[in-house]
Symmetry: C2
């Protein structure tokens, strides 16, 4: 598979270099660790820091979400691989303004281990209090009774948004953690994969799907989904994704949600809008109000084909956080 890259071993470092050069008013690399990026703006003392991160290949996640009202720092791993503790600890130290730091990250073994170790190290070495928020929005990745085993995918955007808004509003560490966990508890995502991506090092497809096949629940790194079958029309696919979400998190007439239709990489915005059209029809028919919509590439899997639908159930508190302004290179909300 063709890629506009130089030496495949340098893609992550060159990507970061390009990103920081493109948006110097937003982000800077730490001199101690080039995989640690923090906001370039002055953060006020006493504000809780929000730290995100994970493997590369999901751009604009995660580094695109460092900015006002969102995250203060990010630790960047290799492609589809967790960052080690070092860049996490360095970023933690840089964004600790005396009120502690909240880690928001997806539920993957490597991330759980490395963010966990980093939290211990940050406490031991710098006395920083760290709150942990694990994102587990992927309905397809484990049954409801084992929802703590679920992976984190596109819904992490909502959790980051809630944590960033709460921190920006001056909430303390415990409260930012509470709000972010609530956003995770109220978020569900279901995805569908159509075509594989390839890692720059190998150039080989990450999984196989037949020419007219799709896979429901396919993971963001090509983890097996729950059902392979013939590619269906957009309306049928949307019906299936929303049905699985609602079976897991029932919504009723009068409920209010935020909707994210997320592209996995090579899926056109035309297709995403067509998918959104059906999602809106389903929700509207049930009397569920869409408070805010997000349609585009928010968390990709390199050039994978497909999309996901995330619903965040909103109460008054979460609505306030979702409506809070944000200003990042990859997401601006006035």
């Amino acid at each position: 598979m063709k890629k506009l890259i130089n030496n495949p071993t340098n893609v992550v470092d060159e990507m970061i270099e390009g990103y920081v050069k493109a948006f110097p008013q937003y982000v800077k690399q730490l001199p101690e660790n080039k995989r640690s990026l923090v906001t370039a703006k002055e953060t006020r003392q006493g504000k809780v820091g929000v730290l995100i991160g994970g493997g590369s290949g999901h751009e604009p996640a995660f580094m695109g979400y460092v900015g006002d009202g969102m995250a203060d720092g990010v630790a960047v791993g290799n492609i589809f691989a967790s960052p080690p503790p070092d860049p996490i600890v360095e970023a933690t130290r840089a964004i600790d303004k005396g009120a502690g730091v909240v880690y928001v990250y997806g539920n993957y073994a490597g991330d759980v281990m490395n963010f966990g170790m980093a939290a211990e190290l940050a406490d031991l070495e710098y006395g920083t209090s760290v709150g942990m928020v694990l994102v587990t929005d992927d309905v397809a990745s484990a049954p409801k009774e084992e929802s703590h085993k679920r992976r984190g995918i596109a819904g992490e955007f909502f959790v980051t948004k809630a944590a960033g808004a709460a921190a920006d509003k001056g909430y303390d560490l415990e409260e930012v953690v509470r709000v972010a966990k609530k956003a995770n508890d109220y978020t569900r995502t279901m995805g569908v994969g159509l075509t594989p991506c390839s890692l720059p090092q190998t150039g080989k497809p990450s999984f196989e799907l037949e020419e007219n096949e799709m896979e429901i629940g396919l993971g963001h790194h090509g983890e097996p989904g729950i059902e392979k079958g013939e590619l269906q029309q957009a309306d049928q696919v949307a019906d299936r994704l929303v049905a699985d979400i609602l079976a897991d998190m029932p919504l009723h007439a009068g409920d209010k949600v935020a909707v994210l239709v997320n592209g996995l990489g090579s899926t056109t915005r035309m297709e995403l809008y067509i998918m959104f059209r059906r999602v809106e029809q389903i929700l509207s028919k049930k009397g569920i109000e869409i408070h805010r919509s997000y349609v585009g590439d928010y968390s990709t899997s390199l050039e994978m084909g497909g999309c996901s639908v995330s619903l965040l159930k909103l109460d008054d508190e979460l609505t306030e956080f979702i409506d809070h302004p944000a200003d990042c290179p990859m997401y601006v909300q006035r």
Copy 2:
């Protein structure tokens, strides 16, 4: 090629329907013509209207750029086909606040004919004064001495931004036209194609490229470029694109530019940041200052693979327009 669509003949209407449902606070369809979208916000009397449009398949262009500080309306054509005069006239009528309307559109035979006819009809039927701004940023599409024959591609974003800002600042029709034409005169784009897209109706690739081949100067609808050759590394490709731009529009130490690295559809942001990295190195070495950077999918060709680099040379006046805030579904600038 797999797509998340329903009946291929309905893709454009379903896409528009989804788009308007996703962003009702920004855009609305006109009851007179469902291919005419206008801003959902109240526009003040006496403000010059800015109208954009063209074929579908370039999303988020063009409809994603209707909003505060950008365009007031858009006419949406079929995939890769100009909208007919009707939706253009209807949108013109809706956004005319007594100060006339400026059309910003790419230099393609169909668009030239249809926007031209629409301008005459709007004048005849409603007495609306229309100013015309043809975008001709694609260096590869005609030699310098025939630059008026060049096609409009991703640089149209800069021209729309300038026109939208000037209109928002209260400039009159003649002045908005002058500013937008100046932005076009100061913009150059060079692109590279790696992989084809396919039209929903046919499902067939729009052109052929060998597995290790790229095409410099490939058009946004698959129009032949100026050179096919072996896929090179990102740095070499960036060197070539920028060299061709600078040969056409010389820049010198101390000059200031805005840079847009635009993805054509399936190219990852990782690759776009790597491309930007090199563009920044080249400009920085020459002492050219990058005032503002844009990296992402601003004008696509369905799921085509590849990217383009646009440079807008900035003087004080254009800097002011580029820095002007904007608030559209697909582009927000604080």
